[in-house]
């Protein structure tokens, strides 16, 4: 996250490749399920052997034996509906919820976050020179109509946007798949998923996210089936 602050986001998980390196973020939506971006994987049809999800730490490179760190192998990947850019990861076992590991709420189906809502992104990705701890940045939602003025009509209804700030603030390499969480009725709700944009944290340029509420029904269906 460029322009963010070290922060606390207990539903943000780190996806680790077979060498144990962080490569993407994700969001803990159920004790055994993580929602992330399809672009984080070469294919959602290949068995995710060796991939792990790390939770409960603020550090990108936690020391061995760090208290609170949970490492859970990914058991299965389920591709999102066509055009969703989403993947659900089923973990080999349920994670333990505690102060550092929590579930994030899913939005009601088709819920549209009102423009002006303050939300936040979180991740261990590129910071442009800072120390590798979990960074959080605050962003404000704008309507798709306003977003499309800049993006020339390319933003779909299954996507949502946050306003571009004058200073470079936003998601970058390594943050993809992580959450855009908005505070609604005393709870943090997963409204968006960070997807790769052409440029990271470009000043005055709205960021585009996958709109989770369009796929809430799919998430429930996958978890149920």
């Amino acid at each position: 996250v460029v322009g963010g602050q070290p922060g606390n986001s207990p539903w943000t998980v780190s996806l680790r490749n077979r060498q144990g390196q962080h490569f993407c973020g994700g969001s803990l939506v159920k004790e055994q399920w993580v929602l992330t971006a399809e672009q984080c994987f070469s294919s959602c049809h290949v068995p995710p052997v060796g991939y792990e999800v790390w939770l409960g730490t603020l550090f990108q490179d936690p020391q061995p034996g760090e208290p609170g760190l949970q490492r859970v192998p990914v058991a299965k990947m389920v591709c999102g509906p066509p055009g969703s850019q989403l993947v659900l990861l089923k973990l080999e076992r349920r994670v333990t919820l505690n102060l550092r590991v929590a579930l994030i709420c899913l939005p009601p189906e088709q819920y549209v976050v009102p423009p002006g809502t303050k939300c936040e992104i979180a991740g261990w990705g590129e910071t442009r020179g800072d120390n590798p701890v979990l960074k959080v940045a605050s962003l404000s939602v704008i309507s798709n109509q306003e977003c499309n003025l800049k993006h020339r009509g390319r933003v779909r209804t299954s996507e949502m946007c946050t306003a571009g700030l004058l200073a470079p603030v936003g998601a970058c390499e390594g943050d993809y798949g992580g959450p855009l969480a908005c505070f609604t009725r005393d709870c943090w709700v997963l409204e968006g998923i960070i997807i790769p944009n052409r440029v990271c944290a470009r000043p005055r340029w709205p960021a585009v996210f996958t709109r989770v509420s369009v796929f809430t029904d799919w998430i429930h269906k996958v978890v149920q089936l």
Partner: protein
Amino acid sequence: QRSPLNDFQVLRGTELQPLLHAVGPGPWQEGVADAEECAGRCRPLLDCRAFHYNVSSRGCQLLPWTQHSPHTQLQRSGRCDLFQKKDYVRACIVDNGVGYRGTAAITTDGLPCQRWSHKFPNDHRYTPTLQNGLDQNFCRNPDGDPGGPWCYTTDPAVRFQSCGIKSCREAACIWCNGEEYRGAVDRTESGRECQRWDMQRPHAHPFEPGKFLDRNLDDNYCRNPDGSERPWCYTTDPHVEREFCDLPRCGSEAPPHREAATLSCFRGKGEGYRGTANTTAAGVPCQRWDAQSPHRHHFAPGKYACKDLRENFCRNPDGSEAPWCFTSRPGMRMAFCYQIRRCADDLRPEDCYHGAGQRYRGSVSKTRRGVPCQRWAAEAPHRPQFTPSSAPHAHLEENFCRNPDGDSHGPWCYTTDPGTAFDYCALRRCDDDRPPSIPEPPEQVLFEKCGKRAARLDRERSRLR
């Protein structure tokens, strides 16, 4: 630091079943520390050719036969790994093949070998013993012939002849960087013995075979799992971590089964991507592959002829998740080029649907990935929630794609793949159908047991800052 396991080839999750054998396998020896201890017990015994290792009970069972012995059968097993002595199961020879105990029994001219216990048609002085391994009529090298294993032939005119068994070095060659090499050389170019990939000593490493299934990290054989210049291995010498192996090249022609090149999109991990994208997903320009600044690296284009490391184009020379490049920014060594889109599925949609496809009545019966649908009336591999009788209005015929639950993402079906419960179908929304707009949000939103975080950790956050 040599492990006795180095003399064995492992088949995980496999048992060797004897058929029609008068003598059974040895008794189970429980309480061993690990498979290495079993290997230490089996290795010096002339009548031990293999052993079973039971991971859960930590027991081993020594076996006097291998998979190539008559009347034996390999069988999948949930409890055992099978370790067999290399000399008995390798199809190639090391050095002059004195230790070869394979089952080749034909000479270079195609003549059948004479049984070692027979003195006719060719009389000789060799007597089969457990030590010399002169079994049946198999090619052997009891006298250390530099030409390798040989045998007396059944042709009275040709007393003996070499069997022409290739050395392990010559038996398999490498294309490009040898990532496809699956041969049985287990020594480095300096002659050091390789460390087993499934062991972490003398050198700890990340290449656990179970995590790199497509790389076939078998036993202690030379492999190239990380896009190095050529196959290599960790060595059993504690002072030398890893070394390349000396393997012959196959020739200049193109390797077989190469991934088809793509220019504007990528398939799989993008190892066949040959397009001209030259920035990271975030727009950072890539460093040229032939440059060593700002990042030093070993991917010199000349050493990776098959990888097309031209200019500063995104490529995947090392089996990473997607095409990538070193970036021109000193603080960011490498980054993926996720802006390159994935190629559309090869499967072309054959039909279309309107709305959410609840009224689709066509006969497409494949998922978007091409997996055949499960019949709606079937109970396996997935137990359906919706059946022709439970949802009569949904027209759940045969295994045709339908939408009995009004899924907003279109018609779907249960799949015949046991690992995928359901998937969307190889259908597209009809061209004249406008995508639905998002309706007004519901008034009441209630959440339970989620989305809460402890304020106490915010204080830690301040300390961290």
